[in-house]
């Protein structure tokens, strides 16, 4: 279980997260939704050590996430796919994948994980020797997710994987996610602007506004709440 208690993060004078607490049961998918500037990205970055919190705590099982560096978090099964198709442009697709499993050394399972990831995203297999900056936006997002998955994380943090992608590609990525967690018991925190699609596959949801939690709970209940939808999600 991921358990976040009283998390507060400041960017200088801007309080981006204020006293945020929620839990994500192991094996579930929680959608974090909210408008621009709500603090969604800050939440994920704080969880993986890219941004330092002001106060609060966050634990993944028994690991104190806030005391782990980004690179050590990866070794404890936490994978973070940040905003904006984060791949290394100068490396090939194959190298980007290899990068994700580098810390696992010569573990024979790396080859198996690589095959699995490539069968999840067959498009990448055709482009293994291409530089990552020759990929389309959607392909790059697939590569970023694949790079995270090849480490066989048990907690996956995804920041707006759908941003700027065609609806069909979004659909494909979300279905892949959904299938993956059902097959492997992966725990997912999915940050999304695209609330409709996210709530469809989520078990639970957290709605953030100006750094604070407005409501958290069952995704289907939140999706049905017309007032909330009008006020915060704009549909």
């Amino acid at each position: 279980m991921l358990s976040i208690v009283g998390l507060t993060t400041d960017h200088g004078h801007v309080r981006a997260l204020e006293n945020v607490s929620f839990e994500v049961p192991a094996g579930s998918l929680t959608a974090v939704i909210g408008a621009n500037g709500a603090g969604k990205t800050t939440l994920l970055r704080t969880l993986t050590g890219l941004t330092k919190p002001t106060s609060g705590s966050a634990h993944w099982h028994s690991h104190d996430l806030l005391s782990l560096s980004t690179e050590e978090g990866v070794r404890h099964g936490v994978a973070h796919v940040p905003e904006g198709r984060s791949v290394v442009s100068e490396l090939t697709v194959a190298e980007n994948l290899q990068l994700g499993a580098l810390w696992r050394g010569k573990d024979p399972d790396v080859q198996i994980a690589r095959e699995e990831v490539l069968s999840l995203f067959p498009r990448l297999r055709e482009r293994l020797s291409q530089r990552a900056d020759t990929l389309s936006g959607g392909e790059r997002q697939m590569l970023a997710i694949a790079r995270a998955l090849i480490a066989r994380p048990d907690l996956l943090l995804l920041d707006e994987p759908s941003l700027g992608l065609a609806p069909l590609v979004v659909e494909q990525i979300f279905q892949t996610l959904d299938r993956l967690r059902k097959q492997t018991g992966l725990t997912v925190v999915l940050v999304e602007q695209n609330a409709i699609s996210a709530l469809e596959i989520a078990d639970n949801a957290v709605l953030l506004s100006l750094g604070k939690i407005v409501i958290s709970g069952s995704a289907s209940l939140i999706a049905q709440d017309t007032e909330l939808r009008h006020a915060y999600l704009g549909y």
């Binding site: 993986t48 890219l50 560096s69 980004t70 690179e71 990866v74 070794r75 994978a79 973070h80 796919v81 940040p82 984060s86 791949v87 290394v88 442009s89 100068e90 490396l91 190298e95 290899q98 990068l99 994700g100 580098l102 810390w103 530089r131 900056d133 020759t134 990929l135 389309s136 936006g137 790079r147 995270a148 480490a151």
Partner: protein
Amino acid sequence: MQQFVNTLINGASLGSIYSLMALAMILVWRSTRVVNFAQAGQAVLSTYVGLEIHRITHSYPLTLIIAIIFGALFGALVDLLLVRPLMHRVGDGPIAAVAPVIVTLGLLSAIQGFVGLIWGGEYRSFPAALSQNGFKVGLTRIPFSPFDLFILFTTLLVMLAFAYIFQRSGLGLAMRAAAFEPEVARLAGVRVARVRTIGWAFAGGAGALAGALITPTTLLAPNSLDLLLVFGFTAAVLGGLESLVGGVVGGFLLGIGLALVVTYLGSSFTFITAFVVLIAVLLLRPRGLIGQRSVRNA
């Protein structure tokens, strides 16, 4: 014609040393975004250490190897004790662009002062691996010696080793990722700080080798490698400052170009030529002669 060919091979041997220095500058620039002016001081220090080893052991191989190892360790220490804490403190404010310049320039003069205190300011000779007398072709002696051949051979070996490490090994992949996208690299589990220190160590070793190879010709004094720093930096800029291959090509071009200038114009033109080349590249091809844009930026 004979003179032209001689100039070319002589220039290639000098150029290979500039390439090494360029590699040292590029390795540090790529990993830490610092132009390491102290590289000249680090190389002078490791060369003096080599000289001491030679005084004690009279063994050239030991001299060279210990100078390189010392250079690598010292490079790692510069990062660990000076650059890493500094970059950590200044974060990414406006000071971040200036602080490394101040620190590496300061370190350069600190090392040169220290070296002057210990070994004095007078010029000393430094051993060469092989004879520095030119080969004989027929009855004439050409200005290309067995030691020049040794220089070419050694630097090519080092470049091949670097090429292998960077293109084929996991460490090289981690170093490239850390250089281009440190945050993505960290998220992939790369211990970026450690990888950077290794980059500084490689650079220190390459700089030490460059110093030990050029010093039999230039002689050794606290500031005897300042010119090598200028040439190495020029070569690195010629290659676009990011690319190791570019730095090597830049080094050879510069070495051959300067050798031609010395032969046909006179040695007083070398320094000014290097500067003209540097400025011309910055104005006309700021990405270096072989630099390229990233293909797509969507």
